[in-house]
């Protein structure tokens, strides 16, 4: 018989695959409604360009998009693991990004130290901003969904104020947007274009952000923390059965605080790839919405680092397809429809497969025990 764990994993994967296929089918209806051909759309989505340079650029785009989404998904997943809904990732990463960008522009140190300091500041700010809803919840019982949503508004507007006011840098003539002062060159994260060169491809336009390596490292660390440490176990126990965790000596207040702060600290990293890799400043056109997308990515990835990585890559892939779709005269909003249906269907599929695997588990146990008791009866006879 197949080991129970393997069977559960296969069932989950099958469920996800069915969900993605169904989502493509449903989106095809939307494409047809927009009077375009789903086949053309699919071709456009997989068309990475004619030249090697275009292919390299497309791949880099997908990865560059996936990295912050992956980090955002991780941040959300830490809270989700214990049924703590940190909807405030959006605000946490924006406020962390602007403070880190500004602080980083105020001094010049050797590269690794400069970058480490900026990253630490971002994590600190994100964690501290997430501490507010955590403290409110623990001391006053304020629902974290409400408080984090409210704090998002505060963070977004505060960031908008800071970038125009106290943290604003020099604006070049003719530039329409404001931004924080440019980071010194020591804070520019080296890109990973050499990877393309290793495969004989030309370097992509814009470059492959080096923060990818940090993201992978963070992913591994989070996996280890969630799956192997005492903290991870307590987090999981609190999520699966809060009253059992309480009776087992897990302090729920401590868990809320630490999960929320860790989630916020990881959220602080979301803006780093872009700031350290491309813009070298926090501008008023800084990428928004990553925190909310992170919720979808975490849901899609079932709160597990590997799943979140796959989900982030899928989202990156779909986001890249927006431009080629437009060239093929298909409204790029189709992408949003696909993403939405995938998330919905995967959530449904997850629920169905988890129920199925639980029922299967019960049956397996019952069957196995039946055979053993029969064997015992035979021995007795």
């Amino acid at each position: 018989m197949m080991p129970a764990r393997l069977q559960r994993t296969l069932l989950t994967l099958a469920g996800a695959a069915v969900a993605v296929l169904l989502a493509v089918a449903i989106s095809s209806v939307a494409i047809l409604a927009a009077e375009a051909s789903p086949i053309t759309a699919l071709e456009a989505m997989f068309d990475f360009g004619d030249t090697q340079a275009q292919v390299a650029t497309a791949v880099a785009f997908i990865l560059n998009r996936a990295v912050p989404l992956f980090i955002a998904g991780l941040a959300v997943a830490i809270g989700f693991r214990m049924n703590l809904f940190n909807i405030g990732i959006e605000g946490q990463y924006r406020i962390a990004a602007i403070v880190a960008a500004f602080v980083g522009s105020q001094f010049v140190l050797p590269g690794p130290i400069q970058i480490t300091l900026i990253v630490v500041v971002a994590m600190l700010v994100g964690g501290l901003y997430a501490l507010i809803p955590a403290v409110l919840k623990v001391t006053r019982g304020v629902n974290e969904v409400i408080s984090t949503i409210m704090l998002n508004y505060i963070a977004i507007n505060l960031a908008a104020f800071l970038v125009r006011g106290p943290f604003t840098g020099e604006r070049e003539a003719g530039q329409l947007t404001t931004s924080t002062p440019q980071l010194p060159e020591s804070a520019w994260f080296p890109n990973l274009n050499f990877l393309f060169e290793m495969f004989g491809l030309p370097a992509p336009r814009g470059g492959l952000w080096g923060f990818l390596t940090v993201a992978i490292l963070v992913g591994v660390i989070i996996w280890v923390v969630l799956e192997r440490t005492r903290f991870g176990f307590e987090l999981k126990a609190s999520g699966l059965n809060a009253s059992a965790a309480l009776a087992s000596g897990v302090n729920p207040k401590r868990m809320v605080i630490s999960a929320m702060v860790l989630s916020g600290a990881i959220a602080g990293l979301i803006g780093m790839p872009e700031i350290l890799g491309r813009t070298h400043a926090y501008g008023s056109n800084f990428t928004a919405g990553l925190g909310f997308l992170g919720i979808a990515v975490a849901l899609l990835g079932r709160n597990k680092p590997v799943g979140i990585a796959v989900a982030a890559l899928l989202f990156g892939f779909l986001d890249r397809a927006a431009a080629p779709l437009q060239f093929a005269d298909i409204p790029p909003s189709v992408i949003a429809i696909i993403q939405g249906t995938i998330v919905l269907l995967v959530v449904i599929a997850n629920e169905i497969t988890s129920r199925m695997s639980m029922r299967q588990e019960e049956r397996r146990a019952a069957r196995q025990l039946d055979t053993t008791s029969q064997a015992q009866a035979e021995v007795a006879a």
């Binding site: 080991p3 129970a4 764990r5 192997r228 440490t229 005492r230 903290f231 991870g232 176990f233 307590e234 999981k236 126990a237 699966l240 059965n241 009253s243 059992a244 965790a245 309480l246 009776a247 087992s248 000596g249 897990v250 302090n251 639980m358 588990e361 019960e362 397996r364 146990a365 019952a366 196995q368 025990l369 053993t372």
Partner: protein, 516 residues
């Protein structure tokens, strides 16, 4: 439906349950239930919490389907799939927790879900007329235009009853209707019930308050451990006899066994009082020692402070007054974790709620509660290898029937889940163990095994606090027996001498506090 009132004597029973059995994975909630409710009577169903009353009512009301057995209403076989089927057959349920919309009027609440229409509009006038008619004929006074939020508990209950009558019910199920009422309201309710009875309606009344049952019921069925154990006539039974039936009257022949009680006090509970707000204390001046090698049993009807006592010892409940001492240490202000680390084990009364991570494998359940101790812990890590190995040990030693230690806990039967918990809580050499209903909902084999494990541990010097609703268990295992009644220890009894009459008397408050 209404033809049944013609010839009462010859009429078939209003409700007849025959051989009803309902199993949940690993647990038999109801087993071979047999009840016949005569029309136009108040029929009481009594039993301890957890005896299977609520499952039975859910089956009768179509919320759950029985695995075996037949239900007949007025002599006809019925097969309820949903509560709507039950309502269509004239059965209505008044839930223990009211299901009313606070901001709607009484009238709106009553018609909710069965709104009379008139050209697409709500026929308020018609509804009011019908409600007033019902209220008058059954003596259920309510003002249909008041907002439910402003009503008292007694009035709300009347609204619930009217709601059921409005849907044409001729058979009413009342689930613990007096639990929320003050004595005067209880009298009023009983007057209403007598009126309903006089109108030819049938009332099924679920309760564990024996005096009330005796005063209102025309017939009583007793349920214990999921099955009907007796059908008695209230005129020829006393509250104490009923209590014995409820908790199991047959005393096991007192075992002549060596006492392992030492004079070393392991846990000392001193004047513990738990009070929330200005209400009556949930626990009042509770004091008792538990010695090494001793099983101290706590008898009592559920809801008399047992849960609070457990929570107080586990550190889940802050004390208003008093102290708890473990060995040499005053642990009153210690966290749950610290208490567990100091050697307190806990078999919770509800294993699914407090004892297990159902969706996690067995070995992770072994870690639960031991996450800060050897062998489950290694620095900041969970020691997977050691935890798995120790789970294998528990599975073998405690005879947990499972395909593997990677099986999810939910796949195990109740008895095997419980054996795993017992094995876990006995790990790491505990000094003191709380065993709350350790054999509730487990099969006979597992029950005997768990009892053996508790006896062995006691012989090895473990101090045990046993809380149970099963008198056989309490008397068979305890070295000394306390009775808890409305938050206070009312008697200390010798389990080898006690009679069920005495115990029942103390438990129901019929015998006043010991003079000491």
């Amino acid at each position: 439906m209404s033809t049944s009132s013609d010839t009462l004597a010859a009429a078939p029973p209003a409700v007849e349950l025959e051989g009803i059995t309902k199993r949940f994975p690993g647990v038999v909630a109801n087993h071979d239930i047999r009840i016949a409710v005569e029309p136009g009577t108040v029929h009481a169903i009594v039993g301890e919490n957890g005896a299977g009353k609520s499952t039975l009512m859910k089956i009768l009301y179509g919320m759950q389907r029985p695995d075996e057995g037949r239900i007949r209403v007025h002599g006809e076989d019925v097969n309820f799939r949903t509560p709507s089927d039950a309502i269509a057959a004239g059965i209505g349920m008044v839930h223990q927790h009211f299901m009313l919309a606070d901001y709607l009027t009484v009238l709106e609440n009553i018609v909710l879900g069965a709104e009379p229409g008139k050209g697409g509009l709500l026929d308020t006038a018609g509804a009011r007329k019908r409600i007033n008619q019902l209220a008058e004929s059954h003596g259920l006074r309510v003002d249909p235009d008041r907002i439910v939020e402003d009503l008292g508990v007694g009035d709300r209950q009347r609204v619930e009853i009217l709601k059921v009558l409005y849907r044409g019910a001729r058979i009413l199920i009342l689930d613990e209707p007096t639990a929320v009422l003050v004595p005067q309201e209880v009298d009023e309710l009983f007057a209403n019930l007598r009126e309903l009875k006089a109108e030819g309606l049938t009332v099924i009344f679920i309760s564990h308050k024996l005096d009330e049952v005796l005063s209102i019921a025309d017939a009583i069925t007793v349920i214990r451990r999921g099955t009907t154990v007796a059908a008695v006539d209230p005129a020829s039974v006393t509250a104490r006899q009923l209590a014995e039936l409820m908790v199991g009257s047959e005393l096991p022949t007192p075992e002549t066994r060596e006492s392992t009680v030492t004079d070393r006090v392991v846990l000392d509970v001193r004047d513990v009082t738990v009070q929330r707000g200005a209400a009556k204390p949930l626990l009042e001046d509770v004091s008792f020692p538990v010695r090494a090698g001793e099983v101290v049993g706590i008898a009592g009807v559920e809801g008399n402070g047992q849960s609070e006592l457990i929570e107080a010892i586990m550190g889940l409940q802050t004390l208003s007054r008093g102290r708890i001492v473990l060995g040499e240490d005053d642990i009153t202000t210690w966290s749950t974790l610290r208490r567990r680390e100091a050697g307190i084990g806990y078999i919770p009364e509800d294993r699914h709620r407090q004892g297990l991570l159902l969706e996690a494998p067995l070995w992770e359940n072994r870690v639960l509660g031991h996450q800060t101790r050897e062998p489950a812990r290694k620095g900041i890590w969970v020691n997977r290898t050691a935890s798995r190995k120790d789970t294998e040990r528990i599975v073998a030693e405690y005879d947990v029937r499972t395909p593997s230690i990677d099986t999810l806990a939910l796949a195990l039967s109740g008895g095997n889940q419980q054996k795993l918990i017992v094995g876990r809580e006995m790990s790491g050499a505990p000094k003191f163990l709380i065993a709350a209903h350790p054999t509730r909902g487990v099969d006979v084999g597992a029950q005997a095994a768990i009892w053996d494990h508790l006896r062995t541990a006691r012989a090895a010097g473990l101090a045990v606090l046993l809380i149970s609703a099963d008198l056989d268990e309490l008397i068979g295992l305890s070295d000394s027996l306390h009775v808890i009644y409305s938050g206070r220890m009312v008697a200390r009894l010798d389990p080898s001498q006690v009679t069920p009459e005495q115990l029942g008397g103390y438990m129901t408050g019929a015998i006043a506090e010991e003079q000491s």
